[in-house]
């Protein structure tokens, strides 16, 4: 029941802000699509496909990453430091493992919501993504991994000003260096190995190449390892706040 209480509260907050949330989720990707799709997409081919078809899975992964990360990271941080709503949960008879799981799940669901919006926009641009069970699994894992990362950052950082710095040093570089806008093959070998290990790279690969491609199980494995390692850390940190 406590788990569902957190889910219910997040749903009510989401409902109260649905217009601004939806607009914020689509404005960036829409600009990417206009610039890279209409602007250069028709003239450039990558790996034998149009640039638009190449870049859209990357944009879906990127956007679901930032939404999953940002929502929980900022909300946890603000609720700890400014709104003090985190304390209201701390004094309630709820296990921190329950609270952590519910917050991570709801933030990941927001990421999935933003991904669905991008997919619909892509359809409007007449780009058909290979959406199957594997695509959805990668999408959900990507959202969960970045929601966990956001949850941890939100708990660790003690100033909201520092949240933007963390985002600039972690999320922004990942956005551009994980094969979202161009293939990783363009990088020198040692950098490529490092970038290959990042979760967004795996998510982009999985969504772009599909289950039939070589290394599709490695994508699931890497994202799964991130989840298995980071989730207990997130719960432990939350219990330490108690």
């Amino acid at each position: 029941m406590r788990f569902s209480a957190i889910i219910w509260k997040e749903w009510m907050v989401f409902k109260s802000r649905i217009v601004s949330t939806t607009l914020a989720a689509i404005i960036g990707p829409l600009l990417y699509l206009v610039a890279f799709g209409w602007g250069i997409g028709s003239a450039v081919m990558v790996d034998g496909i149009s640039y638009t078809a190449f870049v859209i899975p990357g944009i879906v992964a990127l956007n679901s990453m930032t939404t999953s990360y940002n929502w929980v990271a900022n909300d946890i941080n603000l609720s700890r430091i400014y709104a003090k709503t985190f304390e209201a949960v701390m004094v309630a008879p709820i296990k921190m493992s329950t609270y952590s799981s519910a917050r991570i799940l709801t933030s990941a669901l927001r990421g999935v919501y933003s991904a669905v919006l991008i997919i619909l926009i892509a359809f409007a641009f007449q780009v058909w993504l290979p959406i199957d069970w594997y695509f959805l699994l990668v999408l959900v894992l990507n959202c969960l991994v970045f929601a966990v990362i956001g949850f941890i950052i939100g708990l660790l950082v003690d100033s909201h000003a520092d949240m933007a710095k963390i985002s600039n040093f972690v999320i922004v570089p990942m956005s551009f260096l994980c094969g979202t806008f161009f293939p990783l093959e363009k990088f020198p070998g040692f950098l490529r190995v490092f970038f290959e290990l990042l979760p967004l790279t795996q998510a982009v690969k999985g969504m772009r190449d599909g289950f039939a491609a070589e290394g599709s199980l490695i994508v699931i494995l890497v994202l799964g390892i991130y989840m298995l390692v980071l989730t207990p850390i997130a719960i432990k940190l939350c219990q330490r706040s108690e």
Partner: protein, 283 residues
């Protein structure tokens, strides 16, 4: 009942609470008084299990805090100094969320929300987001929210700070009604008039140490029922007397302006700690 046995709290080398031994009785309205930085909020946070003790033991109705945290939390209601409402949620939704968090069944939850909205005089505004409420309305909603799970003990940290006089008095009325239901109320305040009016017993805390705990009237009687207050050598001095006649007799020796009046809790606090409530020494 809340019991503190040799409770200490330190932040690094700084001692925030030193050797606190205190019992707040069941059904009692107890106030913890002291200047800013005296350790009141630390004691409140330790009691609400928001801050661990450095040493010592706190028990709440016989249950040792931190040993069975979930069980103890069910018995306590906490109203912090600053709003902890979900600003995007309406008053009704804030109460519903609290009820769900505490595992109250749906029918009981809905019945309790109606009762508490009426109690807090917020029935008309139940569908407005909490962020649109005034400070007083937010404080009333926080109190109502805390009562949702029917706690046995209510902890209030500076419940009327920042509120205007009429709202303060309305909050006092609400607290008196809650007390009449048999709850143990433990509040911190630096408004001594508030403590004198509401509390059956108060504890005076200064620099992390409990100076004494007693009924307000006993504390005042301990220093003297009447005070002679006069201004000399650039500061206000006070002398205490058991009766009015002695105070007036002493006033004859005072040069300049003076005032003889009944002593209050603030006078007693200053006399006992040699500090005012702003934390300034040598008053």
């Amino acid at each position: 009942m809340i019991s503190y046995k040799d409770v200490c709290k330190s932040y690094g080398q700084t001692a925030a609470v030193v050797g606190l031994n205190l019992e707040v009785k069941e059904g009692e309205f107890f106030g913890l008084l002291g200047p800013n930085g005296a350790g009141k909020t630390t004691i409140m946070r330790m009691t609400a299990a928001l801050t661990p003790v450095s040493s010592g033991v706190i028990t709440v109705n016989g249950e040792q805090l931190h040993r069975d945290l979930v069980k103890v939390k069910q018995k306590i209601g906490v109203v912090p100094q600053y709003s902890n409402l979900e600003g995007e949620l309406t008053a009704w939704e804030n109460l519903e969320y609290h009820g769900r968090l505490y595992g109250i069944p749906r029918a009981a939850r809905r019945r309790r929300i109606d009762e508490l909205l009426e109690f807090a005089e917020l029935t008309e505004r139940q569908n407005d987001p909490a962020r649109l409420f005034s400070g007083g309305m937010q404080r009333k909603l926080m109190i109502a929210k805390t009562l949702m799970h029917d706690p046995q003990i209510l902890l209030l940290d500076e419940p009327t700070v920042g509120l205007d006089a009429s709202v303060r008095r309305r909050i006092w009325d609400l607290l008196r009604q809650i007390k009449a239901r048999g709850l143990t109320i433990f509040l911190t305040t630096h408004y001594l008039d508030e403590a004198q009016i509401l509390c059956e017993r108060v504890g005076l805390i200064d620099a992390g140490r409990l100076v004494l705990a007693d009924a307000p009237q006993n504390i005042i009687s301990g220093v003297g029922q009447y005070v002679l207050e006069y201004f000399s050598d650039g500061h206000t001095s006070q002398e205490f007397f058991a009766d009015k006649e002695s105070a007036i007799a002493a006033a004859r020796n005072v040069q300049g302006d003076f005032k003889v009046r009944e002593a209050n809790l603030e006078d007693a606090f200053i006399s006992l700690t040699n500090r005012d409530l702003g934390g300034n020494d040598e008053v």
